[in-house]
Amino acid sequence: MLGYAGTVLYVDLTTGKTHTEKLTDETAKKYVGGIGLGLKLWLSNSKAGVNPLSPENPLVLALGPVSGTMFPTGGNGHAFISKSPATGGVGEAVSHGTFGAELKRAGYDAIVLTGKAEKPVYLWIDDEAVQLLDASNIWGKSPFETEDAIKEELGDFYVRVASIGLAGEKQSKIACIINEKTRAAGRTGLGAVMGSKNLKAIAVRGTRDITVAKPDVFTDMVREFHERMKGPAVQKYRTLGTVDNIEVTNELMCMPTRNYSASHFEKTENINAEVLNERYVAKIIACNSCAMRCEHEALVREGPYKGSLARMEYDNLWALGPNCGVDKLDAIIRAAELCNYYGLDATSTGVTISFLMDCHEKGLLSHDQLEGIDPHFGNSEAVVQLVEKIGKREGIGQMLADGVKVAAEKIGKNASELAQHIKGLEVTGYDLRCLKTAALAAAVSFRGADHNRSGAFTLDLKGKVDRLKAEKGRGKLVKENEDIFALIDSFIVCKNSRNTFYNELGDLAKLYSAVTGAEVSAQDLSVAGERINTLAKLINIREGLTRNDDTLPWKVMNQPVSDDGPTKGAVVTQEELDLMLDDYYNARGWTVEGVPSKAKLQELGLQEFQKIVEA
C-alpha cells in the first residue's frame, strides 16, 4: 500500500542488533500512523508496569502515511511515543520540520528502540544501512551543537537530526527531543527516556522516492490546500503567529498568570504579538512542504541577551512570561532559547519556575535552598537563571528538573496545592477554571494536562459553548474533538493547519485515499480516531491509572478566580468535574470508572487487548 514504507525498524541498544519487520496493510490501516501506530507498537512491545527510565521501556518513533509527500504540513511530521516518566502513562509528542520526511525516504514507517547502550551512542540511518556510532564526543552538547557536529562528522549537510540536550542526558522528566534546532517533541519527558538509553541522537539520510497512489487527485488537493493556506483559515499563523492568543486569552480573563494566582496579566502590551513581531521577529520560516509557514524566529538585537534566538509561540511565551509574572520579551526569548539549548520542554519548564516562585512567595522555601536567586514573580533574571539550573540539574535545579509534581513532593508542606499539573504533566496557558470544556478535556487527556489532545479550548474561547458552565453534552464534544486530533497526529498533519480542512474528516479521508489508494470514508476515520484514543486509554489502564487520575490541579478546584470581570469566582468543583466525567465516559461507551467495555473493544477491533480491561 503506497503511503507506507511497509517497514518497522527495531533497534536493540543493549546488543546493538537491528532488524526490520513488515508493517502489514491491515495494521497500517487500523492505526493510521503517527501516534496511532506508535501506541500500538509500544503496547505490543512492552510489559505492564515497566519503569519508564529502564531499558525495557521502548521508545517508538513513528511517521504517518503522508510523511514525505508534498502535502502541505503533511510531509514533515514525526511522533515519539513511550511510557512517560512524568505521568507513568502514555508519553507522546509530535514534532515537525524535515526530519520525518527524511526518515520516510530512508524507508521506514516506525522505529522501535529498546535496551540501553553501554556508552553514549547515536543512531545513524543511511537508508537500509543502520549503525550505532560513538557519541562520547557530543555527550553534554546542546541539540543545536549536536546537529552540527553530526553533520560535520558524517560529512553531509542534508542529514537530519533529532537529539537530546543535557536535560535528556540527566533524565529530567521535563526533557524533550529536538530536531532541526528549534523544533521539539516537547511534552511528557521523552527526552529522559532517550537519555536513559544512552541514545544522544538519531541521524537520518533517506534517498528513496516517495510516490502517491492517485497523483492527479493528490496534486489537485495540494494546489487547493496551498490556496486555502493563503486565506483566512490560517491568517493568524501566517501573520502575527500563535502569540496573538496572548491578548485573546487575556481579554477573556482566562490567561493563567503568576502560577494561577490571577487570570489576567496587566502588562501584555509589553509582550504581545505586535511587539514581538515589530521588535524581535527576524524571520518567519517554514517546515518542509508547508505553504503556510508559521515559525516565528525571534532575535534579541540589543541588551544583556543580545544574540538570543528562539522560535516563539503562545505556549513558551506564556509559560516563561506572564505565568511567571514576567513582561520582558528579551529575557523570555533568552529563556526559551535556553530551553532549546538544554533540551527542555519550555511549557513545563516555565510552569515549574512559576511553581517555585509561588512557593517562595508563600514562604515554603528556606534561604539556603535559593542559592542567591531571588525567585519572586516578575523577576525575569531569575527565570533565565533557573532555566540554566534546571537544564544542568544543578543546585536548586536538582529539585526542579523533574517538574512540579516531583518538586512539590520534595518541598512537602502544602506545596502540592501550588503544583499545576495533571497526571504529572504541567498545565498549558489556558485557565481551566473559566474554560470548562477545556477543563474536562485536560482532565481526561491521556497524556496529562494539555490542550493539544482535543483543542476543546477553542470551543470555549470562540463562545460556541458557555465556557463557565459544566453541563451534559461537553463529553460528546470533547470525544469528537479528541478523535479528530488523534487522527491529525496519526496522519501526521499540523494542528496549526486544522482550519484548512474545511470538511474535516471528509478531507482527511480524501487525502488518505489519494496517497495510499485505499478507499476510506469519513466514518472509517472517525472509528480509527476513536480506536486510537481508546488504545491510549488501555495503556493508561494497564499502567495503573484510574478515574482518580482524571482530575484537575488543586488551584483549579479550590481557588476561584479573584480578578474582577466576567470570570470572577470561576472554579471547577468536584461535582462539576464528576458530572462532566460521567458524561464523557458515557459518550465513549466506557464504564463510570472510565474503563472501555469488552463490547466497545470488539466494536473497535481491539479484542487482542481485552485482558487489560479484565484485570
Binding site: 514525505g68 512542504s289 509557514r293
Partner: protein
C-alpha cells in the same frame, strides 16, 4: 548566442524564501514523477534559521561546468543559454560538479549521469518551482531585471528612511 543580458534563469529572493522545500518537490515530481529532493534541480539551503535560500543553475557566461567536462558532454544552448547534457557522453566523473560555484550540477542517483535545471523548457507554463513557490520567492529573471529590482528597492528604502526621519 543569446546575449547575457537576455539570458533568463531562476532566482530566489532570500528575503522571501522561507525554506519550505516545495520547489524541490515540485521539481522532482515534474521531472521524475517522485517526491525526492535529491532528484530536484533546485536545492534549498538553510544555513541557519535566518538564512534560507534555494539555489539552481545561473546560466553563466562561459560556464565553468561546460569548460570542465573532459568528454564534451556539456554545452550551452545558443538560443537560451541553458546547459545541455549529452547523456551518452557523460560518465558521471563529476568535474562539472566541482567546477560549478553554485552547486547546480548534480549526479543523478540512478542514471549516474549529471543533471541540471533546464528551466522546464518542455512545460508550457514554465519552471514548475516558480509556479509552485507559495512565497513568490522564485522568479524567472535576467540580470537586468534583478538589477532593476535592487535599484528600486534601494531607492524606496532610502526615501522611506528619509520620511521616517522627518
Amino acid at each position: 548566442m543569446v546575449k547575457i543580458h537576455q539570458r533568463k534563469f531562476i532566482s530566489a529572493d532570500p528575503e522571501k524564501c522561507v525554506g519550505c522545500q516545495i520547489c524541490e518537490y515540485a521539481c522532482s515530481y515534474s521531472k521524475e514523477k517522485a517526491y525526492n529532493p535529491i532528484k530536484s534541480r533546485i536545492r534549498l539551503v538553510r544555513v541557519n534559521q535566518l538564512a534560507n535560500m534555494a539555489v539552481t543553475c545561473r546560466l553563466c557566461e562561459e560556464p565553468a561546468c561546460v569548460a570542465a567536462c573532459p568528454r564534451n558532454a556539456l554545452s550551452q544552448s545558443e538560443d537560451t543559454g541553458n546547459i545541455i547534457l549529452d547523456k551518452e557522453k557523460c560518465n558521471g566523473c563529476g568535474w562539472c560538479i566541482e567546477a560549478c560555484d553554485y552547486g547546480a550540477m548534480m549526479l543523478h542517483p540512478e542514471t549516474k549521469v549529471v543533471y541540471v535545471c533546464d528551466l522546464c523548457k518542455d512545460k508550457p507554463d514554465g519552471p514548475q518551482c516558480v509556479k509552485w513557490c507559495p512565497e513568490e520567492a522564485l522568479t524567472v529573471v535576467t540580470s537586468d531585471t534583478l538589477a532593476q529590482k535592487a535599484r528600486i528597492s534601494a531607492i524606496k528604502k532610502l526615501f522611506q528612511e528619509k520620511e521616517e526621519k522627518q
